[in-house]
């Protein structure tokens, strides 16, 4: 093999109280698609930030093409051929694709030349994209293409991608993989971060596995099973969530022709949504975020009033009931956004336990809060859902995303709902905690609750759902039994309206 493109030796970075990277060494070959694996908090982000010049290592060296490489800032890293596509896009919705790309360039060419180059690159790599369209009108997959093309215009030698597929439909993933393989064939190395092990097996040539900041192994993903990789990541074997088969009971929650106008200019209207979910059943709702997921959760939780008779619970009209009244009869929910929506960032966990638990857990009598009971409830959640925190007095914002997610889901599950609606229940949660949350959702259904899981993670939905449907541009497809659905069928259900066909190559 030739000399490595990027050689990392003994990289160490410590933050107060935690060593993010401890003596990390590995090498990336030219043209290689290299996977970086690890749970949340394993140190993947810190590592790529060091390579991209966002963070300075405490010790250790990097070499790019044999020459010492220590970028003091991302600009220098980009000049030397390292580009990065972040998980969260940094795009202006009110500007066009070309304008957004020009903003990220050191010396942007004239608009007309730039548009031409964007077209050339998007043709060459099969990434359909119109330089003149407004970013606000684009799907998540198309926005990601903007970021990728912005990187490709710099002709990078190493492209870092952080969780690129989490927002894509299966078809969009295929397009992306096609592009990445083409780049790799041309000699561009790709450092690929993902939780989705099957994708890594399909795409990557090599993998480095991090755990608690240390390199704990390397493998050839094509030769290693997903279960083996997961075990290396977690350090123990994972229990597969499961439950005994049981017949679903009567219909608990039913939506008929539910339509709702968009709340804001960039919101999504709900269009003629109908579904029913039975006691003991898990209904999975797939789809890329921004297609009405937040809106659907808001009408089911009672945050937004629904048109009369559009939603029925156990045969009675829900539309007029306020969130607290719905909780009173057992309809609970957990929104996607943890900080600021499901939980108040600056409030303690005890106070956050009161946020939804006041009615159902009897935490308030005549409006007066029983703080003792609230603390006991918070402690119960912390204990039962293994929330890692110094105590119930800690502010929600001090918890890591995964831990707060466990708290939020636990808070609803421990209230013993008859209907539970969750949006992205395991978003940003590491593998073992995600498995625990899924098991808890299944146990809930087993005990006779109706569970609606809204998620972008199709593997998750197929694993726990009895029936599956997809939300696309505010429309819900007809639910179908999840067992036996193929990825292609799901892709079609997701509508895949955004750039299904690859650009002519």
């Amino acid at each position: 093999m030739t000399a490595p493109l990027l050689d990392l030796r003994g990289l160490t970075k410590a933050y107060p109280g935690v060593i993010a990277n401890d003596d990390v060494s590995f090498a990336i070959q030219p043209g290689e698609v290299h996977a970086l694996l690890g749970e949340n908090g394993a140190g993947k982000s810190t590592l790529v930030k060091m390579i991209y010049g966002l963070v300075k290592p405490d010790s250790g060296t990097m070499a790019l093409n044999g020459a010492p490489f220590s970028p003091p800032e991302p600009r220098i890293a980009r000049l030397q051929g390292v580009a990065m596509v972040f998980q969260h896009f940094s795009l202006f919705e009110a500007l066009s694709v070309a304008e957004n790309i020009a903003l990220g360039m050191e010396n942007p060419p004239k608009p007309r030349d730039l548009s031409k180059r964007i077209r050339d690159v998007s043709q060459a790599y099969g990434l359909p994209l119109d330089p003149e369209s407004l970013v606000g009108d684009l799907s998540a997959g198309e926005r990601q293409r903007v970021e990728i093309i912005r990187c490709l215009l710099q002709d990078p030698k190493l492209l870092i991608m952080d969780e690129p597929t989490s927002v894509l439909t299966p078809q969009e993933v295929e397009i992306l993989f096609h592009t990445l393989r083409k780049l790799s064939a041309e000699g561009t190395a790709i450092l690929y971060i993902s939780h989705k092990l099957e994708e890594i097996r399909a795409l990557c040539d090599a993998a480095t596995i991090l755990r608690l900041g240390k390199v704990v192994g390397a493998c050839d993903p094509k030769q290693t099973s997903a279960a083996q990789m997961a075990e290396m990541m977690v350090g123990k074997s994972l229990a597969q969530p499961g439950r005994d088969a049981s017949e679903p009971g009567e219909v608990l929650l039913k939506a008929t022709g539910l339509s709702l106008p968009a709340a804001s200019a960039f919101g999504t209207p709900l269009r003629d949504i109908s579904f029913e979910v039975r006691a003991g059943e898990v209904l999975g709702i797939g789809g890329v975020a921004g297609n009405g997921q937040d809106e659907l959760l808001a009408v089911l939780s009672g945050e937004r009033p629904a048109p009369a008779v559009a939603i029925e619970y156990d045969g009675s009209d829900l539309a007029r009931l306020k969130p607290e009244q719905r909780r009173g009869i057992g309809i609970l929910s957990a929104p996607e956004e943890r900080l600021g929506h499901a939980a108040a960032p600056d409030m303690s966990l005890t106070e956050n336990a009161v946020l939804t638990g006041a009615t159902r857990k009897g935490l308030a009598t005549n409006g007066f809060i029983g703080w003792g009971r609230a603390r006991a409830f918070a402690d119960e959640i912390i204990e039962r859902f293994d929330v890692r925190t110094p105590g119930n007095h800690v502010a929600a914002r001090a918890l890591s995303g995964g831990n707060l997610q466990k708290f939020v889901i636990g808070r609803e599950i421990l209230q013993d709902p008859t209907v539970l609606v969750v949006n992205q229940p395991t978003w940003g949660v590491d593998a073992s905690a995600a498995a625990d949350i899924r098991q808890a959702l299944l146990d809930l259904a087993q005990n006779g609750a109706a569970v609606i899981v809204i998620s972008q993670d199709l593997d998750e939905l197929l694993e726990i759902s009895d029936r599956f449907c997809a939300l696309n541009e505010g429309r819900l497809s007809d639910p179908r039994p999840a067992r036996g659905l193929s990825m292609e069928e799901i892709g079609l259900m997701l509508g895949g309206a955004h750039g299904m066909e690859e650009a002519a190559i």
Partner: protein, 361 residues
């Protein structure tokens, strides 16, 4: 290089300590300013903070004044703190204060010269309603027309001032006053008087009401769902809606309570220390109460102390003008410094200061 690092959990010690530190820094910076004006800084600070309470000649007059001035400030600030905690900004307490005084005084004068024991309670209710109604204008406009309550409530202050002038010179003018502007003196009629309840303390019904408001607000925020919802709506509006808080109802409630309390403060003032409706009846309590609310970190007990401190700087400031000929703008600048330092130090309860360089993170 100095950097700020966000604390994972707000520091309790700092949120209690910053007001004291702010007072200390105000004394130092204010002392420098007074020295630059050619005054003895130590003497000036002593006259402002010490003499009103302990000077052998002035204290007997200025000590009761402390509660007379602090009473309305605290009462109004407690009302405002409800809204401020919920992110609802009532800047027009001054107008609600005027309307409370006008309605209460008009009610009392309508029954002149009755001495019925029911008259004063009736005036209080009229005052509460007057302030409440004046606050309902920005509240309803915000809920139903999505206007900005800051602007509407503030502009209504000037409307209220115009109404005050027309009352003092027109429809509430004393018929026996030889044509001078100003209403009959309410405090000279036992039926409408808001007297000093304990001689030499300055405590009148309004001061008692302020203390009751402090206790009620404390219980509300510590123990009650409503107080919890107010805090929640201020800190995380989406989480509040998810929890089931109706934002419109909260706007109406918070503006209503702050308006009613400001109205009550106006009534207590017009029936007691001021005595009558005059053109210049309002002296800015409604605006100063905003400072008091923040100085007390929107906490009821904090507001109690902040109101007393603010009243002290007012009385002390007047004393300094009188005794040392310190110019009035210098006193105002001094009071401004207090707010400045408090808000500037506020950052310490949520951030810690890091000295020295570290890699870009």
């Amino acid at each position: 290089m100095i950097r700020l690092e966000k604390r994972p959990t707000p520091s309790r010690a700092w949120s209690l300590g910053t007001p004291l530190l702010a007072v200390l820094l105000t004394m130092i910076a204010g002392g420098l300013m007074f020295a630059a004006l050619g005054q003895d800084p130590f003497e000036t600070i002593r006259v402002i903070f010490w003499d009103p309470l302990f000077h052998e000649r002035f204290a007997s007059f200025s000590r009761p004044q402390l509660l007379v001035k602090a009473g309305p400030l605290i009462l109004i600030a407690i009302g405002l703190s409800l809204g401020f905690r919920a992110g609802i900004w009532n800047i027009g307490a001054e107008g609600q204060y005027i309307l409370g005084a006008l309605c209460g005084a008009a009610f009392g004068l309508a029954f002149h010269p009755s001495e019925s024991p029911l008259l004063f309670p009736g005036m209080l209710i009229a005052g509460l309603i007057g302030g409440w109604l004046w606050a309902m204008i920005p509240a309803l406009l915000k809920v139903f027309a999505n206007t900005n309550e800051i602007l509407v409530s503030l502009l209504l202050v000037y409307v209220a001032e115009a109404m005050l002038a027309s009352a003092a010179t027109g429809w509430l003018r004393n018929p026996d006053g030889q044509g001078f502007p100003g209403s009959r003196n309410l405090s000279r009629n036992p039926g409408t008087d808001n007297p000093e309840l304990f001689a030499g303390t300055g405590i009148h019904w309004g001061v008692l009401a302020a203390f009751i408001a402090v206790i009620a607000a404390y219980v509300l925020f510590q123990k009650h769902m409503l107080g919890y919802q107010i805090k929640l709506a201020g800190q995380a509006p989406r989480a509040a809606r998810f929890s089931g808080v109706n934002p419109g109802r909260l706007v109406i409630l918070c503006l209503g309570v702050s308006g009613a309390l400001a109205g009550a403060a106006g009534l207590f003032e017009v029936a007691g220390p001021a005595g009558q409706i005059t053109i210049d009846f309002n002296v800015g309590y409604g605006f100063t109460a905003i400072i008091v609310a923040f100085l007390g970190r929107l906490h009821p007990i904090g507001i109690l102390f902040a109101g007393l401190l603010m009243a002290l700087t007012y009385i002390g400031g007047e004393l300094a003008q009188l005794m040392l000929q310190v110019p009035a703008p210098a006193i105002q600048a001094f009071q401004g410094m207090l707010l400045f330092f408090l808000l500037a130090l506020d950052v310490l309860s949520n951030y810690r200061i890091k000295l020295g360089r570290e890699g870009v993170a």
